[in-house]
Subunit: 405 residues, 2 copies
């Protein structure tokens, strides 16, 4: 029996599940600090020169003056934004039920919430190796055991995926979801071919695993072509698709969407627990995107990022040693580099920082210790001049690294 | 053993906890529809004429032109907003550890997340009767059993709270948290006296229950006085405090804060799962609030809302039957009405809507069926003219209701 006289502690009050979320974040590689002089090619920030500042300011002015109560008072998420997402998915051939679209505070919100509704302690999640670090963090923090499937020149190795699923099944283990970035993959810049997308979904349906399709770079294709979303292929009932305005408008507005099966979306709404994404920010995004503006803006972005990638590609050809292999992305934000055996990324980066340039060592994209001789180079953030200068510095760092050995 | 050949269903993939969140929302009272002609006194929307439109537009312009990368690229929540909240709490006498401040997408986000970390199925939550409907919804949806403590003219009845805690303890039940709105209570407009605040915390510490202090109206005092936050009283280690910019800036920006014990805040951060509240919206709020602007604005709001309450009070005195008793708030957004026995709120509201005015029946603030002869009247949203007109219509509806009997 409980009495008012025995000493009480707050710790006695938590739900059992609160302790399930107590796994520490996976330890990040201990990277050397960039300085103000470092040309950082490490992070996939958007190019701030491409932010539509004038349009955002004009939109806010119009919104607040004309739609004051709808954007500043209590109001639901803007329905026009859901319709915009529905239209964009429909154009790609998805048979959309708008009720299953969820507007979120960034696609990270979904990467964080999905494990809450899918994972019991020790459940298996399959990820690509390498993959987006943020995903691994959320999955591991919530108790996932990570199985890694390698990424080849054409994206996830589907043979290896099948072997993994078969091996798990033989042990009675059903993976909960497969996290994939099939289009302009982060960090490798690779593209999964249509045949592999179809095989991936057939395997998902056959083994009963949800596929989390992260389509962050789906619109960012240098030629303006759109790959087939997994939502348009047979087995799409196993797909939870996430997309974001971070790359095509601005990361700082934290606006993204998810689309998937009713049973998943209903539960994501429950754990989202914020009364829906707010009226001001959702209407800001839907208003600026009106009347074809977003399509036009995406065209501008693709031309600009294609140009910046070209600068990086030419600089790498001119300055990198011949035995450093690099990926040839057709879109997205990243080039991925494969370093020779005598050039481990974690050692190279110290020399690179001393030369005033940085990159992201491959290890941070792996949950299994891989990536020791890999590196990610972002052409998204820096200016053309800085990209060329940074790659030249990095080439010099690579030569210096070898000479010192 | 799992094989690729047996048919699979998505339902097999969910976490056990996903089903714990499957409780249906409590059923809302089936209210008659307001029309365009209805003067709605039902909802606690802010007065749109008091939104700082010009300042918001100017702030957005300045922010986007001068701080482009910090607000539109990937960036953490604005540290200045955390400092602003810390300073405001410190001014009220709270010994603040800024690490335990969490900036959230509206205080509803906390009302939604707290049950996720505190409640196992069938755990008890103590609420005031009446209270804020949104709170009850979140708690019940996540499996809470609700115990209701009545609200008197001076807020929560602390004797009744003690009896409830004693009764629960005698049955071996430890309540998880007590949800209270001690200052300018929603919906009753009452104020909990200092002595009762102290007793509340002493009981919480003695019985080992967290106190969730919803301070939504803490700044909105007609005389500009601030009541003692529970955070400043002995036993504050049992307090999770939430405050919001919804009432003092604009609900639509969805910006609020929580402050409480480290163990609670750390777990709230984990289930928040959105990489922190975004840079654009947090910086927008911290920039507009700079240099004393927010204090000045709160002064303007308090004068305006005091005036609007005065209009409502005078109109009620002129037009309501003598046996309709109303509360006398010193701040906040609401007057609460106690109707005579022959005038149940759910029947009265049909007549009121026919007279072109609405209110919120008291029942929606109770989890236990109470409030049948109570009503909430918001003076926050409507103009002075509409308030006077609405109350006159409501008085006429009350007389008509009686005549028809």
């Amino acid at each position: 029996m409980i009495s008012a006289n025995t000493p009480k502690t707050l710790d006695a009050l938590f739900a059992r599940r609160a302790f399930e979320f107590d796994h520490p974040n996976p330890i990040l590689a201990d990277l050397p600090k960039e300085t103000n002089e470092t040309i950082s090619l490490a992070y996939g920030d958007a190019d701030p020169r491409l932010f539509p500042i004038k349009e955002l300011i004009a939109t806010v002015g119009g919104l607040l003056n004309e739609n004051t109560d709808a954007v500043l008072n209590y109001a639901p998420s803007d329905r026009a934004l859901t319709e915009l997402v529905a239209n964009r998915l429909q154009r790609r051939g998805v048979n959309v039920d708008p009720q299953n679209i969820l507007i979120t505070y960034g696609s990270s919100q979904i990467l964080g919430l999905l494990p809450q509704i899918m994972l019991n302690q020790g459940d298996v999640v399959i990820v690509e190796g390498p993959t987006f670090l943020g995903g691994i963090e959320y999955f591991v923090t919530q108790g996932a055991i990570i199985e890694t499937v390698p990424v080849r020149e054409d994206g996830m190795d589907i043979d290896a995926l099948e072997e993994t699923l078969k091996r798990l099944a033989a042990h009675g283990t059903q993976a909960k979801f497969i996290y994939t970035i099939p289009t302009h993959h982060n960090p490798t810049g690779t593209m999964m071919p249509l045949a592999n997308r179809k095989r991936l979904l057939a395997l998902a349906a056959s083994y009963g695993v949800l596929v989390l399709e992260d389509d962050a770079y789906g619109d960012l294709d240098f030629k303006g072509e759109m790959a087939a979303s997994l939502l348009t292929l047979p087995g799409s009932e196993w797909v939870l698709h996430i997309g974001t305005f971070s790359k095509i408008l601005a990361p700082g507005v934290r606006m993204a969407w998810a689309y998937g099966p009713t049973s998943v979306m209903q539960r994501l709404r429950k754990v989202k627990s914020d009364q829906g994404t707010g009226p001001f920010i959702t209407r800001l995004v839907s208003f600026i995107a009106q009347h074809g503006w977003l399509d036009n803006h995406i065209g501008v972005l693709n031309a600009a990022y294609a140009h910046k990638y070209g600068i990086m590609r030419d600089a790498m050809a001119a300055h990198f040693p011949n035995d450093v292999r690099v990926s040839t992305p057709g879109g997205g934000f990243f080039v991925y580099g494969y370093l020779p055996k005598d050039m481990p990324a974690r050692e190279l980066i110290d020399v690179a920082i001393a030369h005033g340039v940085s990159f992201l060592p491959g290890t941070v994209g792996y949950a299994n210790g891989g990536g020791t001789h890999e590196m990610r180079l972002a052409f998204s953030f820096q200016s053309e001049e800085k990209i060329a200068d940074g790659i030249q510095r990095l080439g010099a760092a690579m030569r210096m690294f070898r000479e010192r050995k």
